[in-house]
């Protein structure tokens, strides 16, 4: 059998899929939460970058993984808070403000990288800590399944918990109910006494929270350094992943999984000399097609309802 097909059919492929899915799923959860509250957050690119950079710097200078975690999440949430302040309080357009924040994060991290590590490319001169990988006892000894699911980074296991937390938050808590109410009809929500602004702010802060983990994983798990613009569009891919899944917990997970599979596939067939550019463009094309079909169906439904 062709060695490449063999490698794709091996447990290693699933392992790689889960690994590349992680930094897409975290921000996708973030996007989904804001989308459910009726706004769109395209600043996850910047949120992840800031969190990644802060995590690496703090771990490099303090040597503490916990401090790095807290600082990284704080940086990401702070970015989301700035977005919230400008959008909700100063009435800035959320999309333009988010574009500005993405630029800010890209420029500022490179700037500070140069100031602190005297390098504009990567932080390799600074030793960053990484979050540990976990071998799961018992599971790791099961053939086939073991090598797929065991030995991942701790943040990768945490992302599965994050999906469950997202589900629980949205469907089982008062805040989740308010978020959905605001998303479906802000005026109606306002009329029953929900503070729409505050709910939207919370949803943005939550998206900053989840997005930060994506950034931290990228710099301190996926690799062990910060490099310029290392998010490489994952914050935008996250928008596609959550849109594909209708912004719902399971859908967001499946959407991210699709991107994980395609990216892993592109990595595995690289030796084949099939242009990986084609494979890599598949998820984006898929998103365009799925969103188009979704909106065609929706507008037909609306039309039918109107004509009845």
């Amino acid at each position: 059998m062709n060695p490449i097909i063999k490698s794709i059919l091996s447990p290693k492929f699933i392992f790689a899929t889960i690994r590349v899915m992680t930094p897409i799923l975290y921000p996708a959860i973030g996007v989904a939460i804001t989308a459910l509250a009726g706004s769109i957050n395209i600043a996850l690119e910047g949120i992840m970058l800031m969190a990644a950079f802060t995590g690496v710097m703090v771990s490099g200078f303090t040597g503490s993984l916990w401090l790095a975690l807290f600082a990284g999440v704080a940086a990401g949430v702070a970015m989301a808070a700035i977005l919230g302040y400008f959008h909700l309080q100063l009435k800035a357009d959320i999309i333009i403000a988010a574009i500005a924040l993405n630029m800010f994060a890209s420029g500022m991290t490179i700037f500070l990288l140069y100031v602190f590590a005297h390098d504009k490319g990567t932080s390799s001169s600074l030793k960053s800590l990484v979050f540990p990988s976990l071998d799961i006892p018992l599971l790791k000894d099961i053939p086939v399944v073991g090598p797929m699911l065991s030995g991942h980074n701790i943040l990768t296991y945490f992302v599965f918990i994050a999906v469950i937390v997202f589900y629980y938050l949205i469907y089982k808590t008062p805040l989740g109910l308010r978020i959905r109410a605001v998303g479906q009809n802000p005026d109606a929500a306002e009329s029953v006494g929900i503070n729409v602004k505050r709910v939207r702010l919370y949803s943005l802060l939550l998206s900053g929270f989840f997005g930060s983990f994506g950034g931290l994983y990228l710099a301190m798990g996926y690799v062990s350094w910060f490099s310029r613009d290392m998010t490489a569009g994952r914050g935008f891919i996250a928008i596609a992943a959550s849109s594909l899944g209708g912004n719902l917990p399971l859908g967001t997970f499946l959407g991210s999984l699709l991107f994980g599979i395609v990216n892993a596939f592109a990595i595995f067939i690289a030796p084949l000399k099939i242009p990986s550019e084609f494979i890599q463009s598949i998820p984006y094309l898929t998103t365009v097609i799925v969103l188009a079909i979704y909106s065609i169906n929706k507008s037909r439904k609306v039309k039918r309802e109107v004509s009845e």
């Binding site: 333009i96 420029g107 969103l291 188009a292």
Partner: protein, 358 residues
């Protein structure tokens, strides 16, 4: 004075935002640089101190102007287009492919290559436009996705079919001389692209403010329902604005290839599409203001690069500063209280003047 402030409030706010940005950069330089005086000089005066650097400043402006225009037309129709980046990339890639595989006399070659690049970009604008107009698909997400499709397809086209293997880098074949835009200022690389971008800015201005279609685009942007009841074909307006935007972005990418590098040499997306958003916001979607905004941005960029080269401050400071400026300009409520107070004072003054007459 008060009257003046109320009337030109938007302009004043923009200037204040820019000033805040500049003050922050000066502060940063003072805090970080070991020789702040020299860093400041190379940042603020650098582009003026040599002919070559002045050239860098002008040549950077032309793709930014075209992308700013590309973003401003859909913005005027209240449509989001962040697909300029993709339209620019795929336009330049397809244009390059066409240029290196055809032979024509110079003027014809330049025009057809620019047209091919523009049309390719226009197709990239058409897709989110038609999806939005017909089925209300979110144009923001679609244009974002189309950026990536453009990026990968463009790379594939250049790297697999038009790559110059003798060049040592991942670049396309050199364009035939007939498809070059002349560099017309000796000692610099300033090329015809800047003239082309100025011409398109004036054309866009004329189109938006002096033609029926332009009026329809602006009316749709101000109030879609009003436009619809007034008999404007909103469907057409949405598609047209995106198509024109894509067209301009495609040309913007192509002029850079034809005038500056003479090869397609982008392995990463160059980011002019995002700069286009920046200058469209600073220039408030007015094509003439966009020229100034683009010159301002490319001056800062060039100054930043010179400072990066000569002193100890990295050029990325400019990116951080420009984003702060954008944030302040888009914040509707920024300085709103100030305007409110001024308006009240103006009204009171008028009352005071009117009273003795009664």
């Amino acid at each position: 004075m008060e009257k003046f402030i109320v009337k030109y409030f938007h302009l004043i706010r923009t200037i204040i935002a820019v000033l805040i940005g500049i003050v922050i950069s000066v502060l940063i330089i003072f805090i970080i640089s070991k020789n702040p005086g020299f860093s400041l000089k190379s940042f603020f005066l650098g582009p003026l101190l040599s002919k070559g650097r002045f050239g860098n400043f002008i040549e950077t402006a032309s793709p930014i102007i075209l992308c700013g225009l590309a973003i401003s037309i859909p913005f005027q129709a209240e449509q989001f287009n962040i697909g300029a980046e993709g339209a620019l990339f795929i336009g330049a890639a397809v244009g390059t492919a066409f240029a290196v595989s055809t032979h024509m006399p110079a003027i014809l070659h330049i025009t057809t290559v620019l047209l091919i690049a523009g049309i390719t970009g226009a197709i990239w604008g058409f897709i989110p436009g038609i999806l939005k107009a017909k089925w209300n698909t979110d144009e923001l997400v679609i244009s974002l996705m189309m950026n990536y499709v453009a990026y990968f397809l463009g790379l594939y086209l250049i790297n697999y079919h038009f790559r110059d293997k003798s060049a040592g880098f991942l670049v396309s074949y050199e364009l035939p001389k007939t498809a070059w835009l002349a560099q017309f200022v000796p000692g610099t690389r300033i090329h015809l692209g800047i003239i082309i971008s100025f011409a398109f800015a004036i054309l866009t201005y004329y189109f938006l403010y002096h033609t029926t279609r332009g009026y329809e685009i602006r009316t749709t942007g101000i109030n879609k329902n009003f436009a619809r009841f007034g008999g404007i074909n909103v469907f057409m307006v949405i598609v047209l604005s995106q198509v024109l935007g894509g067209f301009l972005a495609g040309i913007g990418g192509m002029t850079e290839v034809m005038g500056l590098h003479r090869r397609f040499n982008w392995q990463l997306s160059p980011g002019y599409g995002w700069d286009g958003v920046v200058v469209a916001i600073i220039g408030r979607n007015n094509p003439i203001y966009i020229i100034f905004a683009a010159l301002f941005l490319s001056y800062l960029r060039t100054g930043g690069q010179i400072m990066n080269l000569l002193s100890d401050i990295p050029s990325e400071m400019v990116v951080a500063i420009q984003s702060i400026i954008i944030l302040l300009i888009t914040a509707e409520a920024f300085l709103e209280r100030f305007k409110y107070r001024i308006t009240i004072r103006e009204a009171k003054r008028k009352e005071a003047i009117d009273e003795p007459n009664n």
